[in-house]
Amino acid sequence: MKPRHILLVDDEPHVLRVLRLSLEREGYLVVTASDGNAALACMTQQLPDVLISDIQMDGMDGRTLCPLARATYPDHPFLILVMTSMTALDERTWARELANTEFLEKPLSPRQLVARLSRHFAALA
């Protein structure tokens, strides 16, 4: 089975580091970016199978990045996972309108993320 590509976007270096370590241990190929612009730059090199993004970021935030990524690559149906907290309930409406987009509740558990991705790829196969 060919390795799956994951693009991680967050302005919190600790989050990027922990998630990268957790996902790489499971055999995923992980690329990280600290904001939306960096993420779009990464996508020109390699289109990911899953885009995992925070919402609140300095620079381009997740709210701008996710619809833009979807619109830029309409033929590439990658899964988008948005990391959000319960305090930002009103932030969710825009993401509901995007196809193939789901939420990850904060505080985020790396174990649960790994399980979520396994289910996703098992369903694809």
Binding site: H14, L21, S22, S34, Q56, A88, P107
Partner: protein, 609 residues
């Protein structure tokens, strides 16, 4: 006596007036009776002139139409009807009781047309009024009809009697009232005139000694003075009455104007609605609050000017069939015609007389933009703080999971370090939040004492050393030999200094340095914290002391972000000490934060802590 004369004159006037009224009434009555007689006479002559001779009377000169005329004119006015020929011969005749046709011949104009005249009564009674004219039926030669009526005399009718009696009664009632009023006003003058007259009599009497005369004169003058005073007092009383009325009016006007001015100068806008829901009063503040000209609001239908749906709904509750005007209602809305403003409208029924009278509705418009923004800022604050608290919790949770799952020793050390860092970060945030809240509510009042800064700066330096070494940074302390004393709150100032040092370490680069220095400068002491870090862009330098402001740039993103309270708190504390916090920075080279504090000259015998 003069007063009596006035009374007599009044009675005479009343009598004259009554006479005049009665005379006018009589003339009017006679005129109307004469007109009645004339109508009857002319009508009868014209009617009879058309009747054929043969029908007027039978051959004996009696009966026929004339008999019927006599029967229907049985009243006292009717005298006679005579039919005569051109020679003055009587062809037929009827006459009322006691009347005979006078023998006076007809005038010449009777041949050509109708006429009338007054004749002396034949038997010495009242004069007669005669109407005459030619008969249409000339079969037996030209003939004439003459109708006589008694001239009406003066008769007083029953209804006139009661009217006249009433009139007379009223006039006689008015006379004594007028008499009393005039007598009251003239009393002092009458008394004076009586006394004068008495005095004159005394002077005229011969052989009287002169001495009492002088006394009398004195008494007279005193009396005159007294009467004049009385008259003057009366005039003053009348004037006062008039003045009081004027003053009352002015007072009322003044009160009304004052009330209006008070309503107009209220910071809130006031609208009064009548029970139909139309605006009857609007204070001046309404115009700028709603952004609608006053003349559009007053006396115009609601639909024409009110473009705010919330306000319309509110007004609708107090008018029409569905009105619910027993309670007050409140609504917040953003006016359509004014940009960026938030208004609150409170409507309540206006009633008086313990609820028995309703004057409509009072609507108070208040500008709540500040409260609205404050509330919004409060919400933003809660969102911001919860995000700030959640981020470290998120990181702690993930590293704790990794710590549990990983066997790698270096990984475990890293996890523990990060968890430790994040806990410190949260601790600092909570501490700073509490301090900011205390500062902003004013519950933190600085206890300023004269302090030598040397020890305090050394303490801060030593606390910073271990944190700096973890990041491979050098910390330098640069103090002069002698440092002037300043008046500060030690505990507060330590927080400010600690925040500056934390930033200098946090935003530095490996191998860099942090310098804590102090120097005497004119009448100030300058404490500076210099780093060799990433620096701050010029456009951000103005804003770094704002609450929750964080520098966002590519370089900073690789560092652990702050929470936007450290510099704000430091600046607030320095300001509380009447000092200045200044920043100089060059991106990529480093930043220097300087605290300028006034040197306090020591009062004699003051202790330095």
């Amino acid at each position: 006596m003069k007063l009596n004369r006035i009374g007599i004159i009044l009675i005479a006037c009343a009598l004259a007036a009554i006479t005049l009224v009665v005379a006018l009434l009589v003339v009017r009555q006679q005129a109307s009776q004469a007109a009645q007689v004339r109508n009857k006479g002319v009508g009868l002559v014209k009617a009879l002139s058309t009747v054929p001779m043969s029908l007027l009377a039978d051959s004996s000169g009696r009966g026929g139409v004339l008999a019927a005329v006599l029967a229907s004119n049985a009243d006292s006015d009717f005298a006679y009807v005579t039919i005569g020929d051109a020679n003055g011969r009587t062809l037929a005749e009827i006459a009322g009781s006691g009347s005979i046709t006078p023998a006076t011949p007809l005038p010449a104009d009777a041949r050509t047309g109708f006429g009338e005249r007054t004749l002396p009564a034949a038997n010495g009674g009242a004069p007669l009024r005669e109407f005459y004219g030619p008969l249409a039926d000339a079969s037996g030669g030209p003939a004439f009809v003459r109708v006589g009526f008694h001239q009406p005399g003066f008769t007083v009718l029953a209804q006139d009697v009661s009217f006249l009696a009433l009139l007379a009664l009223m006039m006689f009632l008015v006379v004594p009232v007028m008499y009393v009023v005039i007598k009251r006003e003239m009393a002092p003058l009458a008394a004076l005139s009586q006394q004068l007259r008495g005095q004159l009599r005394q002077l005229a009497a011969p052989g009287r000694p002169d001495q009492p005369g002088a006394d009398d004169m004195r008494e007279l003058i005193a009396n005159m003075q007294h009467y004049l005073d009385q008259a003057g007092a009366r005039i003053v009383q009348l004037e006062e009455g008039s003045l009081n009325t004027t003053a009352d009016n002015r007072l009322l006007q003044y009160g009304s104007k004052k009330l209006n001015a008070a309503l107009q100068s209220l910071p809130d806008g006031l609208l009064m609605l009548d029970p139909a829901g139309d605006v009857t009063f609007a204070s001046g503040k309404v115009e700028p609050l709603l952004g609608i000209p006053m003349d559009q609001i007053l006396g115009q239908p609601l639909d024409a000017w009110c473009c705010d749906p919330a306000l319309r709904t509110l007004f609708g509750r107090y008018s029409g069939d569905l009105r619910d005007n027993a309670r007050s209602h409140k609504v917040d809305f953003a006016p359509q015609n004014v940009e960026g403003r938030q208004l609150s409208a409170t409507a309540q029924p206006l009633s008086g007389g313990h609820g028995t009278m309703s004057f409509g509705t009072l609507v108070v418009l208040r500008d709540v933009t500040r409260e609205y923004l404050a509330r919004q800022a409060g919400n933003d604050f809660v969102a911001h703080v919860s995000h700030e608290l959640k981020s470290p919790l998120n990181v702690i949770g993930m590293y704790a999971e990794m710590l549990a799952d990983s066997d790698d020793e270096s990984m475990r050390v890293e996890s523990l370090n990060v968890i430790q860092d994040e806990i410190e970060r949260m601790n600092a945030l909570v501490g700073n939040l509490l301090n900011v809240s205390k500062l902003e509510t004013g519950s933190m009042s600085p206890e300023r004492n004269r302090v030598r800064l040397d020890d305090m700066l050394r303490d801060a330096y030593e606390q910073a050393l271990p944190r700096a070494e973890g990041k491979q940074l050098r910390v330098l302390l640069d103090l002069p030999r002698e440092l002037e004393a300043v008046a500060i709150d030690k505990d507060l100032f330590r927080i400010a200094l600690n925040n500056l040092l934390t930033n200098a370490i946090k935003y530095n680069r490996p191998g860099g340095s942090v310098t804590l220095a102090a120097r005497n400068e004119d009448n100030e002491i300058v404490i500076s914290v210099r780093d060799t870090g990433i620096g701050i862009a010029p456009e951000a330098q103005d804003r770094i002391f704002e609450k929750f402001y964080r520098v966002s740039e590519a370089g900073a993103a690789t560092q652990r972000g702050g929470h936007g309270l450290g510099l704000y708190l430091a600046a607030q504390i320095v300001e509380l000490h009447h000092g200045r916090l200044v920043v100089e920075s060059e991106p990529g080279v480093g930043s220097t934060f300087s605290v300028h504090l006034k040197i306090v000259s020591a009062p004699a015998g003051a202790a330095v802590l």
